[in-house]
Amino acid sequence: MALRNTMMNFSSRAIHTSAICNQIIKLTRLRVVDNSDIGKQAMVEGKPPKCIHIYNKIGVGYIGDKVLVAIKGEKKKGILVGLKQNQKTKVPKFDSNNIVLIDDSGTPLGTRIHVPIPHILRTILKNKTHAKGADYTKLIAIATRFV
């Protein structure tokens, strides 16, 4: 019994058990929350997209960041619209990491978002939109509910 206990302790020490920080990094699985065909299919098949690049200089995706995802063998861009990670006060934290798929010009691929979207995303996306670049604010227009 004692031997078994020591064995168990030894084996459990080999892996670290610190709390996870739920960061969006490369190869993180995400959840598509719009009604685009490709997104819906991927979620129904149980093959959620993987993040393969984050368009910022940190390599960690935060709310409102643009990511490149691998979805059903294709590369698509998406905006992070809800994170599992602990957020600042008054910013909602979600039970899943949600993305909305967009194309290069910032237009969403779907026509509806069926989960609530944080209000702060309005400001974040407005700040990220430039006159000559992509227009991300179209995503706000297809949201059904804000929290």
Binding site: M8, K90, P92, P116, H119, R122, V147
Partner: protein, 310 residues
């Protein structure tokens, strides 16, 4: 006798909810020496009742200053000696009272359903309302905060609010009740129906003078994987947690049954009764006045708004 003295010294301190449970064990150990308790320190009856069946403060009536520690836990400072600073604590209390005179912060507990309205520069109407069940209360002083959880459109959402945040416009307690545990973080791993609350919920009125109801709802968790090792947390509000043998063994190995006898640990993690009395004596009259005005306002409101029929 020496042991009894030590014991009564420990009882003299007013203990946090967790600690009080361990105290019960100590008391039962003390057995016949019970006389010592009454002789040395007059302790309120509530202090010795265990965690779950604790008698709550009578609503409406002015709470005993010692009972304030459940109603207003944020007035007690962090017991860590390196964080203590009597001047800062005093100033913070003054600031908290100043804030409380501007906005009505109701009595609530973990398990109560709250509606919080904040000024939000990002929202179109510049204000944002969120309804949810309070799953955690933490922090002390001006940094006191609480987490609300709700399921909106089948998506679990949690928001952390600071109690004394100046952007908060209104805090409503829609349903005042307690649950069996001090933290309801396990609702994250429970089915959605346990944390779904409608945003247009009407506030439930509890008659004055009744104790805060304890909801002894037992939750069934979703199958694993879980976010935390719930089998180790001794949860009362969760129905039969089943884990495999290895996890069970590990949970057993991680048990610390001696901690409840650790008087020094209790001493370090609590604020002494004398200090609590001092703190609440300072704010008690103000809190009491605020409560009276709140009740008056409530009565007025109920009088002004009669329900239309037909």
């Amino acid at each position: 006798m020496h042991g009894a003295l030590k014991m009564s010294a420990a009882v003299g301190r007013v203990l946090s909810q967790q600690m009080r449970q361990s105290l019960k064990v100590l008391k039962s150990l003390a057995g016949k020496k019970n006389r010592c308790f009454s002789a040395s320190v007059p302790i309120p009856k509530e202090g010795s009742v265990s965690n779950n069946e604790q008698k709550s403060v009578n609503r409406g009536k002015s709470a005993d200053p010692l009972e304030c520690r459940f109603m207003y836990p944020e007035f007690l400072p962090d017991p860590k000696p390196e964080y203590r600073n009597s001047l800062r604590e005093k100033l913070e209390r003054a600031d908290m009272m100043a804030r409380r005179s501007k906005i009505d912060i109701p009595e609530f507990y973990v398990g109560s359903i709250l509606a919080v309205t904040v000024s939000d520069p990002h929202a179109p109407g510049k204000s944002n309302r969120f309804v949810g069940i309070c799953i955690k209360r933490s922090g002390c002083g001006l940094r006191a905060n609480f987490i609300l959880r709700n399921v909106v459109d089948n998506q679990g959402v949690e928001v952390l609010y600071e109690l004394y945040d100046p952007t908060i416009q209104k805090i409503d307690c829609l349903r005042l009740e307690k649950r069996l545990d001090n933290e309801l973080l396990y609702l994250r791993d429970a089915p959605e129906e346990y944390s779904t609350f409608s945003f247009d919920m009407e506030p439930e009125i509890i008659p004055e003078g009744t104790p805060v109801p304890v909801n002894d709802l037992k939750v069934t968790l979703k199958p694993q994987p879980w976010l935390e090792k719930w089998e180790r947390k001794d949860l009362k509000g969760v129905r039969d947690i089943v884990v495999n043998q290895k996890r069970e063994m590990k949970a057993k190995a991680a048990l610390k049954p001696w901690e409840k006898y650790d008087l020094m640990k209790i001493y370090r993690e609590t604020i002494p009764e004398e200090e609590q009395k001092e703190i609440f004596a300072e704010v008690y009259s103000d809190l009491h006045n605020l409560e009276i005005t709140r009740q008056k306002m409530k009565r007025q409101r109920t009088f002004i708004r009669p329900k239309k029929s037909g």
